[in-house]
Symmetry: C2
Subunit: 320 residues, 2 copies
């Protein structure tokens, strides 16, 4: 993000005490490591919350994300629940920024998930997709096919020749793959990486950062998740983690035949999305940007690996 | 309650797995000590919940309670949030009973609150009343003036002569007091006793049991709360607890002049409500009832004590 906004303690205390029903401010601290927004842990006499000031998401796009989080929390998923203010609205304004208070969830992220973690993640993701069926709002995946075309055009002149060739070939492949697919769609998280999941022991206690969510193929969400949670250091896939993740997902939300056919291409589309966004952060940084840059080469390798053999989705009769 | 319903593990597992998005059942246990309903701790692969099967509340009355809990939780209060099922409804059916799954909150109740606890309770109750302002549903207080008249008529023939005289005198006093009062009204908890609040250290981590909630004078809720949280063993009031509770409440939701005038009578009305309900449980038990009976004499003494001098509400200029 371009800036980090720090509200004064007085302004925050007044905003909470007069705008919400959460008691008086007793403490707040910055959360470092946020990628897009200014985030704070906020403690009041009534509870523990996270405050987010949005730095570069349009205000009009925020209700989709906030109501999706509320909807999923309402369905029993461990998702931060936005806190409504005294006007009964989730979205407020603080320090001239769109601002939201959400419940603070316990737990820590797991950098080295095993098969049991992956089974939990698969089951949770299916639950998220099932609960999302009754979510009424629609907003396109902000990193979907449209964004991909724009991002590729923007990025291409800056790429080394072999990367440009890889990109062109993959864009052609994806255009063909998409024309053929009729996949189940719905609300997706879109960025379900290991650092966006909190664990308390073996339990998932938090799924955070819904600001890449949107309406798209559910299988894209599965592919993003598998690419991160089940990757080996060289960008390959570890079947010992892929299989439990997919089987747990499939048990709650069975894959369709169209999804089985689309799976290899979808893993590549999901890899391409993160290669593109990371390459743009590298080659086209914005002035004053503070984002922690991630290595685009990692996802170029994952894309290359997914062009080889990949483990299939569970067959229709598979049970745990 | 008349019965305790125990669903089979198979039925519960199927109900959860096919009706909700909370993963698979991994454990459940009965909660003993419930007064009105059958309650269970339920653990799934995705979280920890409380399941309630309603034994003697009409199905039509339940949406008011469930949506109130959801509304308050949405406003950041530590209230169990009902979990929506795949039909996007809070209220389901299990073992032929109306059934609801809510989030399980941490903490334990505090039998011996001090001044600091009482200040927290006062602030929380004001937050609950403030958040309730934007709650759209209305349902009368199920233990309000109408119920009181019916309960008194039912009970009177069974009372000893001196109790009957006390009851008649108090009913006349309350009829006069109510005719004069124009008090702020809204959603009240109605039963905010010590055993309905969970604490994690000094923080309120849960406010439970909303099945006596309704639309009534906010001051009635304050009076019920003060009568329980600030009582001395002989039924008197401890000023060292009354004062911080009322001042913390007043700081967030200032008392009106009408409330100041009504306060002594309201403390008596709140005492009368629990004397009546406990006396009915004692003199007119229902067949097969398993309710843990509470001593009605305790609240008759509290009523008698409130007929004497009581600490006033904070004056309009009072600040912490």
């Amino acid at each position: 993000m371009a800036v980090f906004t720090l509200p004064s303690g007085e302004a925050l205390a007044h905003w909470l005490e007069h705008g919400y029903a959460v008691g008086q401010l007793s403490g707040f601290e910055c959360i470092v490591g946020g990628v897009q927004n200014s985030n704070f842990f906020v403690t009041t006499t009534l509870g523990r919350y996270v405050l987010t000031l949005f730095e570069d998401i349009a205000r009009a796009d925020l209700p989709y994300y906030l109501h999706l989080m509320a909807h999923l929390a309402r369905h029993g998923l461990p998702v931060p629940a936005p806190v409504a203010n005294r006007d009964n609205e989730y979205l407020g304004t603080l320090a001239d920024r769109p601002a939201v208070l959400v419940s603070r969830l316990p737990g820590v992220s797991e950098a080295h998930p095993d098969a049991a973690h992956c089974a939990r993640i698969g089951g949770m993701l299916a639950g998220l997709h099932l609960a999302g069926r009754s979510y009424g709002r629609r907003q396109p995946n902000p990193r979907g096919a449209h964004w991909r075309a724009r991002a590729a055009a923007l990025l291409r002149p800056h790429l080394p020749a072999d990367d440009a060739a890889l990109l062109d070939a993959e864009l052609r492949f994806q255009a063909d793959a998409e024309a053929a697919a009729r996949l189940p769609v719905g609300a997706i998280h879109g960025d379900l990486f290991r650092d966006n999941v909190l664990w308390s022991g073996e339990h998932i206690s938090g799924v955070i950062d819904f600001y890449f969510a949107g309406h798209d193929a559910l299988l894209f969400d599965v592919a993003v998740t598998v690419n991160d949670w089940c990757a080996t250091p060289d960008g390959g896939l570890d079947p010992a983690r892929v299989e439990p993740l997919l089987i747990a997902y499939h048990a709650a939300r069975p894959f369709t035949e169209a999804e089985r056919a689309a799976w290899p291409a979808m893993l590549r589309a999901a890899a391409l999305r993160f290669w593109l966004s990371r390459a743009i952060d590298q080659y086209l940084p914005r002035a004053g940007e503070l984002v922690m840059k991630k290595n685009p080469g990692e996802y170029r390798e994952i894309l290359r690996q997914r062009m080889r053999a990949i483990p299939p989705l569970p067959a229709s009769g598979t049970r745990r």
